[in-house]
């Protein structure tokens, strides 16, 4: 536990999203943790790596899957004071995406910078 936390100051939580939004339930259930966690007034960041960047892609249509399109929920994160969203530059580029293709404003960072962001955290929950 950090010294700050002993004084009641928030811990740094990073949620790492590594998977595509559909096909498995990890992305949806990760977002559920983020929403619940927001009530705890911690210092929250989200990272999107690999196929995880697809979670933020605009224009998702899940009708044929009969699954809920939860991408609009990312736009609500701001209301929960969750505003630090980091997206891996290499992952975006490898998939032919840019920040303009995403449903929310994000900070695009390269893998080396992402490693530094991770290094600075107290708790990393990886999904």
């Amino acid at each position: 536990m950090t010294e700050e936390n002993a004084g009641g100051v928030a811990k740094r939580f990073l949620y790492v999203n590594r998977r595509a939004p559909y096909g498995t339930i990890y992305a949806l259930e990760s977002l559920e943790v983020v929403l619940i966690g927001a009530a705890f007034e911690q210092d929250v960041s989200l990272a999107f790596l690999g196929d995880g960047v697809y979670q933020l892609a605009k224009g998702q249509d899940t009708k044929a899957l009969q699954a809920k399109n939860f991408s609009p929920t990312f736009r609500a994160l701001e209301d929960y004071d969750v505003t630090k969203l980091y997206v891996e530059k290499e992952a975006l580029e490898a998939r032919g995406l840019t920040a303009a293709d995403l449903v929310v404003p994000v900070e695009v960072v390269d893998a080396a910078r992402m490693a530094e962001i991770m290094e600075a955290q107290d708790v990393i929950l990886s999904f």
Binding site: Y26, I36, G37, F40, Q42, S126
Partner: protein, 130 residues
């Protein structure tokens, strides 16, 4: 050191629950404290008392229950993930009008807040999954 544990995969299909169990056992043997083991995603299936594995195999659910009894471990199954997957205690079964409950001894069902709380309280949060 005070440890929080997150188990994200179900028993037998995936190594995660076995690894978490061995890690917790080793940590306790070394004198560390495990403040909570939280089961999420298919990890909630580690908490069903209805598993009947072959006799020559390990009994993963029973092993968790026994470890919990021995060390007063707090084994928490996420309620939202459990509801999706058909895990429930007596109170939940009653609430949803189901004719059976299946939570194994030593486990309890609670909310995701318990995971965040473990992250806040623990010196280290260790995640077991894919």
């Amino acid at each position: 050191m005070k440890l929080g544990i997150l188990v994200n995969e179900g028993p037998y299909t995936h190594q995660a629950s076995d690894s978490a169990y061995q890690f917790v056992k080793a940590a306790l043997a070394k004198g560390h404290e495990v403040c909570r083991v939280f089961f999420y995603h298919d990890g909630v299936n580690n908490g069903t008392r209805l598993t009947v594995p072959p006799q020559d195999d390990r009994n993963i659910v029973k092993r968790w229950s026994e470890l919990a009894a021995e060390h007063k471990l707090d084994l928490v199954v996420c309620i939202a993930a459990a509801q999706r997957r058909g895990l429930m205690d007596k109170a939940e079964a009653k609430r949803h009008g189901k004719d059976a409950d299946n939570l194994a001894p030593g486990f309890r069902i609670s909310g995701l807040g318990q995971l965040i709380e473990a992250g806040i309280e623990a010196d280290r949060m260790v995640v077991f999954g894919d």
